[in-house]
Symmetry: C2
């Protein structure tokens, strides 16, 4: 990744030093606040923690989704990259799929409120949903396809539906000790299996 490349691809108009400093401060502050108050924490809290005004957040991250993506982009990349690795190193495609989904679940469950916001039908979060899909769906689809080809699972479920289902199962998992999302996801993956 490039230091001043925002990932949009075109020639970046060269940002001012204070802008870069603030962006960094915002990312750090957001990460910290997300941990304690969840990804829906008030904008003002994040701004305060970063020592900037609210408008500065909007300038750098016009939507909350963009801020969330920026904070977690690295971890999401990691997860995406793990797919092919697991496929190559596991005993079977179905096993790889299961392990990869565990990775995904671990990520979601440890980010307070992320799973919920990911499925929100609020317009501002479509971006977030879109980003996750764009980045992780191909990986998931590859694993599913491999498992289908190996005859381990039935070909009747789209990878999209699987990912949404898994995401849904993770909602609220961090705030209810009686609810173990991992177990249910495991059951779901088990249910895919051809019998």
């Amino acid at each position: 990744m490039n230091d001043s490349d925002d990932g949009k691809g075109q020639a970046a108009p060269r940002k001012r030093a204070d802008a870069r400093r603030n962006e960094r401060a915002l990312l750090d502050a957001a990460a910290a606040v997300f941990v304690t108050s969840g990804v829906e924490a008030p904008i003002r809290d994040i701004a305060a923690r970063a020592g900037v005004g609210v408008a500065t957040i909007y300038r750098h991250f016009p939507t909350r989704a963009e801020l969330i993506i920026a904070v977690y982009r690295h971890q999401i990349e990691e997860c995406a990259k793990a797919g092919p690795v697991l496929l190559a190193s596991s005993a079977s495609p179905h096993a790889a799929l299961g392990r990869w989904i565990n990775l995904f679940v671990d990520f979601l469950v440890t980010k307070h409120g992320l799973a919920a916001v990911l499925q929100s039908d609020d317009a501002g979060f479509q971006q977030l949903h879109g980003y996750f899909l764009e980045r992780l769906l191909p990986v998931c689809a590859e694993l599913v396809a491999a498992a289908v080809e190996a005859g381990e699972i039935l070909p009747d479920l789209e990878a999209y539906e699987l990912m949404r289902g898994v995401g849904n199962l993770c909602i609220g998992a961090e705030s209810d000790p009686r609810y173990d999302a991992r177990r249910l996801v495991g059951l779901l993956v088990e249910g895919l299996r051809r019998r």
Copy 2:
């Protein structure tokens, strides 16, 4: 937990006629608005539709959860009552469990936003969560127990977890044609099966 009866019925101190009229109007208005705008529709919308002031809603239904419960109470009762019936009339306990869960899913999926709000960790909705649990968990538990006893499913999942999982899978199902909650729930139930 409940002082004998948490319903409306018995020792009511005799309400005034206009109060009863407004309560009815509110229930009708809420039902209509829930259909078009979901269960999180603005209070003011419901008040306007019923032709009353906002305070009147709070007087009759102090929390949104109470309003939602009042609107859907009848259907929830129906669902609860269907459990034993299905158990008696189905070929096997596992089949009965599957059918009953389908009923539950159908109910949730057709109530815009209800599944989401059901899992919300917002304090005001704990009541709603609590009511569903209180009413439906015993039914589900009975079906699960029967299936376990018949040796059809493994005894390693609490009915609570199953219900929460099913509820979670229903989130957002009404607003995404690519996502079929019924199918995923079916897979989950399939995953329960002993193999």
